[in-house]
Symmetry: D2
């Protein structure tokens, strides 16, 4: 950590900073420049908050140079983590080891339609099935999913087709249900900083799919992953799903840069959700291809046997046929994604 | 709701839209323009999702023209709501009826420092006391508050000084505690779309202070208020606390426009939090004044008896002296805030 | 265009809107809903400004449903435009017909280094050479390029190697010089709404590479292209180069969604600039691959024979070796980019 | 400037950085921490670009700690600059010395309407008259102003009423005209980084009103001011007019935080434009009040004798009556804006 003093700050202000450093058991290194003084803070600063200095008089700026997310950081674990989803080894999906396609309906609406869609995505090459049972909806008057009944249905269909399943938990109560029936617990974008929920899934047995919040910096996404990791659950997969910007021709703006940045900073797998980013089916294939080309370890896509009849987000669902064509293209693209020397060197590269 | 068809959409596609409108018990009004057809949807559309049409072939755009937040909307309740906080009428605060100042430390750190700060803000004119016991922190390694013990301490100090108190609940378990001891329950920005938590406080007895998420559109803030109102809790106060933009010289960008926009769209009171927006004490007075000048019903400010010693966010806390000077300025400014004819006409004015 | 009246607007206000429509030679279509009236405006509205109605009393919202950029719009010209760059047919580049790679240094620094870099990118498969002579720099104290001398050098080197060249013009005076020596005139992101400059290049003979502003909506980019097209220059290539968001781990956020959205809305070619978006060489390959996978017609990349010695933006320049490896990957990825039925149908698809 | 090395960077990489520092005539100060090395750069670094180091191997981050805008910076000139507009001392406006109101129509449409509006705003307390003659319009098909004829008309009306006038120049050719007839030259938001135009007005005799670009960081606004100052024109007034964010209920988001931040960082006056930020007249008074309360030295407001008839942006123009009421409120609010100790101490306070 570096504490930059203001031009014109006095000796007493500088001394107070130095004293604060020492009182924290750390070592100060003062450098007096032409225009201002700078205090380097040496020692175990990774978990130190800039708050420790930013309130002191005469302080201009506090610069953090260590990543505060130790467990998630590639600086401290250089080899890629592979997350295994599904308890039955013969049908488990391995995320972080090649390209993993996850597909299914936005919301689970009933057994028949779920089976139709699930069979179609399995045939097209999906390795996991997705479907929402506890849907977060902006309006209290919209369809919010089938709840526990939906989770059970999803698990049953997944088992029948040999596909591990992932579904969202919105609250601690849901975590218990999802952890019991499903193979992977999804934390949605709106809950990326719901710390109580993060601690809850940190104690769960199943792997976690953590979606980036729509206004979360990548450092904050890694801090949220750190919440889960620090509770003991080491199986976290990150998901870029679009951030909110001024551009409104798509629902969100898919931040493909997030993929190489995250791959440099963390050992955790990173997948991409083109459906929520686009908000419109016709743009989904382009975004899915872009995500894979940028180096994503997988793609999670909404597919519906009959998008026009969907109870939720029909506009962004692919038909099974469109998904099948897309899956072939994605496999082809993945074969041209080489890790450049800079990417693969390990070490944090922001 | 208006469904805009693409240029070149055929009769069959138009018919499908018309049929969908009728199947929902609504009335279609087709208007065939030179370049494209448009279908007006008449009837009770306020709670209808655009999803009902956006997935249909040939649809270019779905435009919502009714506010989907009925209970929060000024179109349906034109007079201003006043929220009373505190059960003892003699010391209760009324938000929405003049200017209400709320102040106190970021986090409750202990009884002595809390009493010192509380007495100072009361003397300076604060009508309510704030203080965090369940702190949401980006890093799992930062101080997260005293928990239930903190809430009890806050309530005790508030009672002794005759100040109603507000504190944040981060989860359903906290709601029960805060509802029992405190006078108002705060929902933080990170939880603005934690719908399970919103429903929980919707069932609580105490009024709710709902903070805007850092990337939430004002329509979404109103939808979150609607979640609370639709569960039966009519005492909701909205709080603008800065949104996330590209500008990084302040922690967030205080969106003062939100105040006149919200006052036009909703009957609920609106207050402003300059401390979290600024992230630095020296900017807080300017932002507080701006909020009041823009028409806010109150201000919630972080004050600490000794900012340099604060365990959390010391850089943004005002000293008691600075708060006292600010309070006098705010009262003066408030006397020049006239409701313009356009503002007071009622009716939604986005 | 649709004019939405407020709930509670009176007959006199509605009549005033209807009269305004008629006074503009257009035809009103009033639809009286349960909650509010809506006035459809029929006729030649593409070039009508919403200003014509938004100031009238009782108007809630004005919705534009025709693209105001007629010449750029795919609704009015469905086949893809191919832009030919370079007057000598044998070595001309065709943008919009397969994948076109454009590469070269950020700034032209001198003949020797330019020749070295140019030869390397030509060997690696680049079809055009880029290099800045009139550099826009945020600080007045930074290197601003060699000016006319630089343009002449670039043209000479391009001619020697058989590569058409593109370089930026920052003002009307530069347009004359660039139009004389170079094969394509670049308008930089900062000048996307410099309308006088747009009109100037609209009158030039050479094709134009128009970069998207860092906060420009895609509609605005198309309106800027319309300025050029409406002056008679039909050879415009659009370039996505990253937009400004809250995320600061990359210099800008590459908006790959822009590619499918633009391909749906316009017949003009679209290329992508991963170098300025990333701001760091190690992220450039991932972004370039993503752009091509999303359907870009080309990529413009900064390459420098010795990045550490570059006078400008060395941190984002690829070495010739890295560019060569990237070029091979991009060709491979391009072969898997299929136009989906929805993309290729023509018609505007936002 | 501080160069932060990566964890794991080797001695050779560190040596290369140290050598680069020395080759620039500066002095390196290496500090070897537990996790990484840091190199402080001492000497005249204000005009040094981070590019000098960011391309070197092993460099993680380059942190600038000196403001690169020397002439604009308050660190180097602590007393407030007052800009005098108008050559006739008896009627000149002084910006930066009390509250200055500037008002007038968006576009100059003709003599009669201009005189009516000008007389009304003078009566209401405006000290300067504004009006556009060279209008930047997003669409090439919208009204673009009366040009030179308009500037002459504005100057004539201003002279008759004793009001100095300000109008925008969009290109070098306009600068000559505006400099000749008007009292102040406005650079619009779209041209904030049109460096050739900035250098042109840097050579003009008249003061400059520089509007912030819609996606410009405050540092960039100050760098653009530096372009003008470094050409010899010392009379620059900055203007906050709203930035582009995700929120679309107002046209732009007025960043009132910009006012205290700029007042801390620069000695130049800062005014606020609530009209373009709001995009709707009913929100303009609230934003104007907020700007003044945040410490702005003035307000520039669009007023039209008959907004519904305006050829440009009628929706955001105040009537003369509304402006008159607003002017009284602004004077009252200004009397409660105290400079806090932190604000007035001088020195940069970001």
């Amino acid at each position: 950590m570096i504490v930059v003093m203001r031009h014109g700050a006095g000796q007493a202000e500088l001394d107070a900073v130095v004293e604060r450093v020492r009182s924290l058991g750390l070592e100060p290194a003062v450098s007096q420049g032409e225009e201002r003084a700078i205090v380097g803070v040496k020692g175990a600063t990774a978990r130190l908050s800039p708050d420790a200095f930013s309130g002191l008089a005469g302080v201009l700026q506090v610069v953090r140079v260590s990543a505060p997310h130790k467990l998630a950081s590639r600086e401290w674990r250089s080899e890629d983590t592979v997350v295994t989803v599904g308890e039955d080894a013969s049908r488990a999906a391995r995320i972080g080891d090649g390209l993993t396609l996850i597909a299914g309906p936005c919301a689970i609406e009933g057994e028949a339609s779920l089976r139709t869609t699930a069979r179609a995505v399995a045939d097209a090459g999906a390795k996991m099935l997705r479907g929402g049972a506890f849907k977060p909806r902006t309006s209290p008057y919209d369809f919010r999913g089938l709840g526990e009944e939906g989770v059970r249905l999803l698990a049953q269909v997944g088992r029948d087709l040999g596909l591990p399943v992932v579904t969202e938990a919105r609250s601690a109560a849901h975590v218990e249900i999802v952890d019991r029936y499903a193979d992977m617990i999804q934390i949605g974008a709106r809950n990326m900083q719901n710390y109580d929920l993060l601690m809850e899934v940190g104690k769960a047995r199943k792997p976690v799919l953590l979606k980036r919040g729509i206004a979360a910096k990548l450092d904050e996404l890694l801090m949220s992953a750190e919440y889960i990791l620090s509770e003991g659950n080491e199986n976290v997969v990150l998901c870029e799903r679009g951030v909110r910007t001024f551009e409104d021709s798509t629902r969100f703006t898919l931040d493909v840069s997030a993929i190489p940045v995250l791959k440099a900073q963390t050992h955790l797998p990173v997948i991409v959700d083109p459906s929520h980013a686009a908000g419109r089916a016709s743009y989904v294939p382009a975004l899915a291809r872009a995500g894979v080309a940028a180096g994503a370890d997988g793609v999670i896509v909404e597919v519906h046997a009959c998008p026009a009849e969907a109870l939720c987000d029909g506009a962004q669902a692919l038909t099974p046929e469109a998904f099948s064509a897309l899956a072939r293209d994605l496999e082809g693209i993945a074969s041209f994604v080489r890790r450049t020397p800079a990417d693969s060197k390990g070490g944090r590269t922001p």
